[in-house]
Symmetry: C2
Subunit: 158 residues, 2 copies
DNA sequence: GTTTATGCAAACTGTTTGCATTGCT
DNA sequence: AGCAATGCAAACAGTTTGCATAAAC
């Protein structure tokens, strides 16, 4: 909503990983820290522009790649052909949540209902899978797909 | 593995939805019915070629779209930039399963461990979300990401 | 002063679309 | 016969890459 002025935690973390803090990266992190929703690379590019007009879309992609590989940002695919990015909850004060995606209009609902049970089961499953398949599990994804109230009434025009 | 000769259940279903049964579609359905793993559109194109060389990649995409929208086939994104397709378990005799994806090499493990618990929770969550957010939920997705035994030992060369 | 990050333009990749032709039903 | 499905080529969209320049450290 409003762009934050507090120095994002991300800054220090990135630096800790040995990356340089540039104006562009800082502006991108500010946008991510202040965003309510799940932004595409182009959304971010546009939101960064006012604060730092010299930004290029390429840098947005490159910065996002760094942030994702360091685990500071999550990357999602909601099936509409463009990736979405979301700051990880630990760097935002937000709660862990999953997504409910409307296949009709693309609307995304963040939900945290049943999240404790989900997480407990995920943790347990993770441990079992880790052991059985000899994986080091880093992350998980849960999404529900369906039609929101607006889309479920209108005829399937697809 | 081996191409099946039994008439796939898909055939009748597709026809039931009002679609025509063409040689290309039949060949595609045979490949899907006989495949062990998760195929990309191009994988399918290549596998269909021997049986029906006139097939075009476009038709593969168009047929897959039909199969996905009718719910006969599931479409997945494992993060490598290409979509994967898998026949729905009810048309294959397989059990419901979820996926464990290696971020290093792209290997995908189908797992069914804890699946009953997962499904029970999913069902419950689905009911809750449906009501609270007024969605008609059609589908869900659960995936775990990590590094397989081969990839977790080698240095992060990325 | 070195080295990493940037911007631009061009390349790339998976997927989609227009259109004339073919082939189910 | 009538209409849905096809193949080809071209268009498309998001993302990535090469390279010379600029900015962190």
């Amino acid at each position: 909503m409003k762009s934050r002025q507090e120095p994002p935690l991300l800054r220090g973390k990135l630096k800790g990983y040995g990356y340089r803090i540039t104006q562009g990266r800082e502006a991108i992190m500010n946008v991510l820290a202040g965003a309510e929703d799940h932004l595409s690379a182009e959304d971010i590019y546009i939101k960064v522009h006012p604060a730092y007009p010299a930004i290029g879309l390429t840098s947005v992609y490159r910065t996002l790649e760094v942030l994702v590989t360091t685990g500071l940002v999550y990357k999602f695919d909601f099936g509409d052909g463009r990736a979405r990015y979301e700051i990880s909850e630990s760097h935002r004060g937000g709660a862990h949540h999953h997504h409910l995606v409307c296949t009709g209009c693309g609307r995304i609902v963040d939900y945290a209902d049943f999240i404790d049970e989900e997480l407990a089961l995920l943790k347990k499953t993770e441990a079992g899978l880790s052991k059985k398949y000899n994986f080091r599990i880093i992350n998980h994804l849960i999404q529900f797909y369906g039609f929101c109230n607006k889309c479920k009434t209108k005829k399937n025009e697809k």
